[in-house]
Amino acid sequence: MKALILWFNTTGSPPNFERFAARWIPVWFALAFVCLVAGTIGGLFMVPADAKQGEIFRIIYIHVPAAWMSLFVFIVMAIQAFIALVWRIKICELLTIASAHIGLIFTAITLITGSIWGKPTWGTWWTWDPRLTSELVLLFIYLGIIGLYNAIEDRRSAARAAAFLVLVGIINVPIVHFSVHWWNTLHQGETIRLVGESKMAGELMWPLIVMALATKFWFLGSVLKRTRAMNLEHEANKEWAKKLAGDKE
């Protein structure tokens, strides 16, 4: 535990983080790129079309990994927010904000690809299915976090307020999901089932896993890159940052 906290504190100091990020960003992006290419080729060309849905089903190779990421990023973000608030590690505040932006985009991708898939398959762009509704609420929560961060002038307290909201949000997300589920069963709406992951044929499965890995790597690279940029921006007046930028003064 002690070693972990020490590691956090040393890597968390802005100049160390800069070096850490500079080293790892290309690695994660390279891995993401390889997986993305492999998964896309596999998903679009190699696996056979689905027996019932035909070619349109291939959109799940974007949709499902993005949906997984929309929740995964929230969990990662909440852990970072917790660390940021409890141990006051500055870099974790930035990581939280960077994650929020990425999570928002993944959630938006999920909703958009879902509607594109839904139109030919269900015959409608949107349905008030519990999963769709809670994904929409998730989008609003992400937007709220970013909105709060942008609304407060002092960057430090903006990040802390946003981190606090993340922790409120992580309690709320499961409750929203549960309540919306209850609401939908009450209304006796037709429950349209998405393709169950476990029910998916094995041969269609591998590009999905590769794509899921690709999005994880992408997230790691992207979150480091965004945080690195914010970090440099905040530390622009410090000695080490000036030296890094080749400032000769």
Binding site: F140, L148, I152, F164, N172, V180, L186
Partner: protein, 225 residues
């Protein structure tokens, strides 16, 4: 430990006195809710049968919006005249002071709405046997709205034009309250058991009573430093 209750009562008395001196403010949320209901009927239909079907949802949304608009006033005046900072610096636990503040806010702005619900129900032709589920759901749901809203309002207290942002932040958190609150009435109208949703709301309320003042206190600390 023993000093907490007198402290709580003293804060309640102060806040109650303050809101009594601005008695006119109490009418505003009520007028707003009545306006929303009127607009709903004008926008949808005046047919009693249709309105009765929509009534639980409309009443819940009207009360939700009305209390949302009054959220900002929980801390606004205390923030403007600096007493919020005094509370923060005082040795008394901030969560107790804020708990009192939230309670008074609920009593002075939201409770009148809940009490007037029979009037709203009459305006929308809600069947009389649904009035009890509606009142019970509001009695348990509206304190929950105030408590959750107080946490969010605490985060935005330092922002000057926070109205829209506050709504954007608070509404996603209100989804479960609205679903269970309005849902219990809908369940009752369909002859389904409706106490289950009320119990869940009650459970949420208990959790919120314990956690929300503490959370609001730490949110205030974040936004004031």
């Amino acid at each position: 430990m023993s000093a907490i209750l007198p402290l709580f009562m003293a804060q309640c008395r102060r806040d109650l006195r303050l809101s009594l001196r601005r008695r006119g403010d109490v009418a505003q949320p009520i007028l707003f809710a009545i306006m929303v209901i009127t607009l709903f009927t004008l926008a949808t239909s005046a047919e009693p049968k249709k309105l009765a079907e929509l009534a639980p949802g409309i009443i819940w949304v009207a009360i939700l919006l009305s209390s949302l608009l009054s959220l900002d006033s929980i801390y606004r005046s205390d923030f403007d005249d600096g007493s919020l900072e005094q509370m923060l610096m005082s040795p008394a636990p901030l969560s107790v002071l804020l708990g009192a503040r939230i309670l008074v806010h609920w009593v002075s702005t939201v409770l009148p709405l809940a009490i007037l619900t029979p009037l709203f129900a009459q305006m929308l032709f809600l069947p009389t046997d649904l009035l009890i589920p509606l009142m019970v759901s509001l009695a348990i749901g509206t304190p929950l709205i105030s408590l959750v809203g107080a946490v969010i309002a605490a985060l935005t207290v330092g922002i000057r034009h926070s109205g829209m942002l506050l709504a954007l932040l608070a509404l996603p958190l209100y989804v479960p309250v609205l679903v269970f609150g309005a849902g219990s009435v809908v369940a009752a109208s369909q002859g389904l058991p409706w106490l289950g949703a009320i119990s869940l709301l009650g459970a949420g309320l208990v959790v919120a009573i314990v956690l929300a003042p503490v959370a609001a206190a730490s949110a205030i600390k974040i936004s004031l430093t």
